[in-house]
Symmetry: D3
Subunit: 130 residues, 6 copies
């Protein structure tokens, strides 16, 4: 049950529709995901987050697949169901297979364990790491 | 301030020392990080976690650098200072430069933001993602 | 699927019923939310949490609406679906409109991002802030 | 660096001093921990939290040591340095030795790992568990 | 909606089947929980996590029930629905009744509150705790 | 110990310097906080986060003080020491006194407790809230 309704293209404000258009153009797709339809309830947030996603997830030094896998690992850590599904879908399009997804989840899981052990034992940072 | 003292090689029990030896052999290094010295207070945990790290972080489908960067992103999410320093150090040895580290942190940061927006709006998962 | 059944007024123990009565009297409502019905499985927790909520959320220096919006921001951060729905409902009764809710979620989202960047870069606290 | 100064017994307001007295009487100690000195900046919170701690951590069905170990596990999960130190100290007084502490941290660590795997794989709850 | 399908015994690879056999033998049960069926999509993770669970949750210094209750407290903290259901089921088999479960959740809840107060006030660790 | 050095105005790249100038102009201050000096190691992130902060924290429907207090509550939840100090400083400038800060932390603390109780009991959302 969403907190806000999903705004379809037809009902969207001109500002939201401009973002929808840019999303479809940039991603070369002809449909809009629910995340953006939900944010369209607040066009400034819709535009801001889309600009962020375009910049951070767009072509830079790290390849797009690595970024999507990092996204999946953080989303598993935070238990964001929507984000898991959407970023796993994106990563699969970029070439992630089942084996790779399982490895991403294994690293994320292990990091969550050792994070708690390092914090629980209050391990001092090694001089060599500073 | 650690909760337990750090166990140096000389004081370590035979079980802990065997793990220390395997760490140095596997990683081709001649010193042991504080994390392992802290875990040496409980040899079964030391041996268990080292086996996990060897399996998960060792050579598999995903390359070692990608795994270390995922580790950094999760550690930033959980605010594990020790893990950040140690896994950033490992990733740097594998070729991560400042630009790449900044991008890892940028993706982790953005994922933490959109995770909360997706959860806050309770966005329903798109049929296309299932 | 709840872990415990919901305890309705009729089945509630005298101790739980006394809390239910106080909730309805204090809030001038004639129904009890599921959260309290679930806690009624353990009357000491029911009474304790209600006393806490009455004190913290009751009239003090910060106005009630500000408090409810803080509650929403924390609940989005922790992904508590129940808490999001119930505190958004409370905040709406106190005057929060859609624009304001979107802004609360935007601040919460951004804070989650910059929290990870500040932690990830291990930014030292400025002398001026101490 | 604390956000607020620590309020010593001599400077404390009558309301805060009454709580300090009750803490020392209840716990049969003659000093007050920093946590309570910090909360003394806001006497209603000091009194409220002390009442909660007395009720939840006091003698009930679960023994005091089990409760303290649960507290340690949650504090390691949330990375609360103060809470780790104070509840480890309390648990040690109640009989927790180094072996037991290491086991608490091992369970907490493993739970954090499997929590992420269960969430990451979106494992459906077994009928048998409902 | 799972991310991966659940692997039944009949479809499982020999490596996964060996783990399934060991789970049923060790636990003296004749069915496999969904968590393991999901991990069977990646046999190395299935085998690794099962070895961890066997070691950490098996008979050691802390009794099995205490460990399961710690697991429940961490899972409530992280909001892992699956883990809550499965570890509450395990704890019940070992003797946890409704009263005890409510107390576990009360300690976990209170710890989450005081963790934030200790961190929010940046309370310095008492000399006596070091 | 920062992961990156802090970039002072004099060493900053033209792109970073332009953001520094805009920060000082917008905020009518003549110094730059460490957070921005750390981000200046990666000018695209520096510019992006500043644009986000300007939009989200700037004058909109919610007043600036409410936003800063929400920021503090989320930062206490995530244990971001830097963010706590910097946003408490900002909120104080906008009129938050000690009483109000204590109330913000009290609401954040309580929300973290009830979030875990609602999740731990798996309380179903009331029809009335949907």
């Amino acid at each position: 049950m969403p907190i806000f309704g999903l705004i379809e293209y037809e009902q969207a404000s001109p500002a939201a529709r401009a973002v929808f258009d840019d999303i479809m153009l940039t991603r070369k797709v002809d449909r809009i995901n629910n995340f953006w339809k939900a944010l369209a309830n607040h066009p400034p947030t819709l535009a801001r987050i889309w600009e962020n996603v375009k910049q951070v997830m767009g072509p830079t030094r790290l390849d797009a697949l690595t970024k999507e896998m990092i996204y999946v690992a953080v989303s598993a850590t935070n238990n964001c169901e929507y984000c898991l599904h959407s970023h796993i879908a994106s990563a699969r399009k970029l070439g992630m297979d089942d084996e790779m997804l399982s490895e991403v989840l294994a690293v994320a899981g292990l990091a969550n364990e050792t994070n708690r052990l390092a914090n629980g034992y209050r391990v001092p940072v090694d001089e060599a790491f500073r």
